[in-house]
Each structure stands twice: as structure tokens, then as C-alpha cells.
Subunit: 197 residues, 2 copies
């Protein structure tokens, strides 16, 4: 059976993005500080970084794919350049149909307009025996948590306070978790939980 | 110089107490689940438990001392029985004067009516060369965090969601933290932060 994983950076006060997300601040004001560990301590955190993209297929929300709202109006192909780090099919939740976009390195973005269950099912089929990863952002992760569809939640806890923004667990309180692994470097604590269904 | 520490249990969604605190539920609905690690894994967590009461004096809010509101009306002497675990002076913040209450084992409760700065100063003097611990609850810790008076914050993160209650960091966003230690057992992750003043 497919394991559905989710990796997400979170502040000590529970935010996975700061306020006022924009093209310049895709994670909102202060949100990039959630990921200092990735960029400043890549060696210490090599295993955690590798695990984030170790999946046979991905699901993400439209806000994670890009800052565009409403109809697709240009040739936006994500934040990640010509060769995104996914190297697998990525199913993007949207209300606006668009043909698949094939990138370099094996990443293809598929645009799913019929909901989170459909996107996850398409990702399961595409992943074959491998994991499916729910890549974010906050609203998408919350929807899958509420639907009981995530099996392994890996929080990357940064020693910062954001004060405002998107809370990961807003409206999500009915989850039973087992702590299965904890590790840390100076700029982050990696917390792995199994969600008990 | 005195080091001011604070130990507090916190849920994954950021609550240090559940909703509806009462005599039966001093930590609110579900709040006792924050401390399963203390009672179910005392050996694995012996060092963390010992550190909580390793101080020369303590400060706590009145809600942590007891469920009584308004004037003192009975002989309430705290939740902890005849020999509280503090074994040192404990300065209780209150608006209602009361003579000191001497317990067994070296714990004496002093009731401070002139504010958090006064309580902390009295605790510093009483502690001598040892640490002062801000023992809780949520509102008291928040006040000292906002006042920049806490030097070492030790969060004991339980793998639970409470969904509602008292958030530790509500209104506290202007803190710079350095992560200095992380350890864990099955039921908790101990996170130690130095607060940069």
C-alpha cells in the first residue's frame, strides 16, 4: 500500500508560511527563515533534504506551484527553474484546466481540477510501489490531514517565531500521532510522526 | 548573573493548556496529555524532570498555584500536597495579599502583589547564585517572554494536538532564539532554546 508522506517547515509558533504571500515572498513575510537549515546547513541535513523529494509522485496546491490566481495567463512553470527537484509526476490542484507541462529531469506538472481525492489517486497510480508526497502548501496539507490521507508527517521545526501567517493545524485537531524519529542540527529539529488511522 | 529558565509542556499545535481549565482539569481539557512523558517515562526523562525544579527560586502565576479566583477564601496551598517539588521559595503573582505559606521540604509560597518585575527581583535575591525558574502558567510565561526576562526556554513538545486552549506565543513574536539542545523519548521532544537579548 502506498505511504503518503508530507514534509513541511514550521515555526515554533506553528506557522508554515508568514503573512502576505507574494511573488517576492512566496512563503510570506519571514517565511524564508523557515528554510535556513536547507541552505546554510545542507551537509548536516542531507538526509532530511533527500527524503523530501524521495517519492514516486507528488501532490501540491496551486499556491505552492505559483503566485498566479484565477485563469492561467502566462507560461509560469513553477518556482524551480527548468529542472525542478521532483523528478517525477507532480499533480497540481487547481480550478483551472491546463495541459501537462513537461520539465527537464523527469518532472511533469499535471493540473487536476476534480479535487484532492482524484489528485492523490492519480499520484498513487503514478508512483507505483514508491511513496506519494504531499508537497504543500499549508492549505493543501491541512486538507489532506483532515481527510486522514497522510501517513507520515515530517515537521522541520525552525527556532523562529513568525507571529502571523498560515497555521498548519488550524481546524485540524482530530489526529492521533506517534513520534517515530527526532534529529536536529543547529538551525532545525526534524520531527517524524506516524499518523494513526 | 542569574539565569532565568522556563520549562513548559506544549502541544504540536502550540498550546500549553487545553480549553476550560477547572479544579478537575487544571491544564484544561486534554491538557494532562502534555505530561504523559513525565508519568509514563520517568526514567527516560529523569534529567529533564530534574532540571525543571533545579532552581534556587521560582515564580508562578496564580492560576498555576490554584483554581481560586478573587480573594483568598480557604486554606488552599497548591496542587502538590504537603511537600511540593520546588524545595525553595516560590513567588506567586496575585492581586490579593496573603501571608507566606511554609510547606514541608523547604518550599515556601510568597504572594507578590506588585507585579512581575518585583516577583522576579525577589526570586533573584532568594536564589542567590542559582537559577530562577518561571514555572508557569501560560499567561505568566508570556508576560516574562514579552518583557525579555527569560534566558533559557525549554519546551517539552508532546506529539498531540489540543485544538484549542492557551497558546504559548500569542502576542509574542519579537524573540530571537538559538536552539541549543534537542533530545527525545517516545512521548516527548525536549527543545532547549537560548533567548538572545
Amino acid at each position: 500500500m502506498t505511504t503518503v508522506t508530507c514534509d513541511i517547515g514550521i515555526s515554533l509558533d506553528g506557522f508554515v508560511a508568514g503573512p502576505n504571500q507574494s511573488l517576492e515572498d512566496p512563503l510570506g513575510k519571514g517565511g524564508e527563515l523557515l528554510h535556513r537549515w536547507m541552505f546554510e546547513e545542507p551537509d548536516e541535513n542531507a538526509d532530511a533534504i533527500a527524503a523530501i523529494v524521495d517519492a514516486g509522485a507528488f501532490v501540491m496546491g496551486r499556491n505552492m506551484f505559483g503566485p498566479i490566481r484565477g485563469e492561467w495567463v502566462d507560461d509560469w512553470t513553477g518556482w524551480w527553474g527548468a529542472d525542478p527537484p521532483y523528478h517525477a509526476p507532480v499533480f497540481v490542484l487547481t480550478n483551472h484546466p491546463r495541459p501537462p507541462v513537461e520539465m527537464q529531469g523527469g518532472t511533469t506538472f499535471y493540473f487536476v481540477t476534480d479535487g484532492i481525492d482524484s489528485a492523490l489517486e492519480q499520484a498513487r497510480v503514478a508512483a507505483g510501489p514508491r511513496n506519494v508526497a504531499v508537497a504543500g502548501g499549508a492549505d493543501t496539507v491541512r486538507q489532506y490531514l483532515k481527510a486522514g490521507q497522510i501517513d507520515v508527517l515530517r515537521l522541520h521545526l525552525a527556532p523562529i517565531l513568525l507571529g502571523a501567517g498560515e497555521r498548519l493545524f488550524d481546524g485540524v485537531s482530530d489526529l492521533a500521532l506517534e513520534q517515530v524519529a527526532v534529529s536536529s542540527s543547529e538551525l532545525v529539529t526534524h520531527l517524524t510522526y506516524r499518523i494513526v488511522h
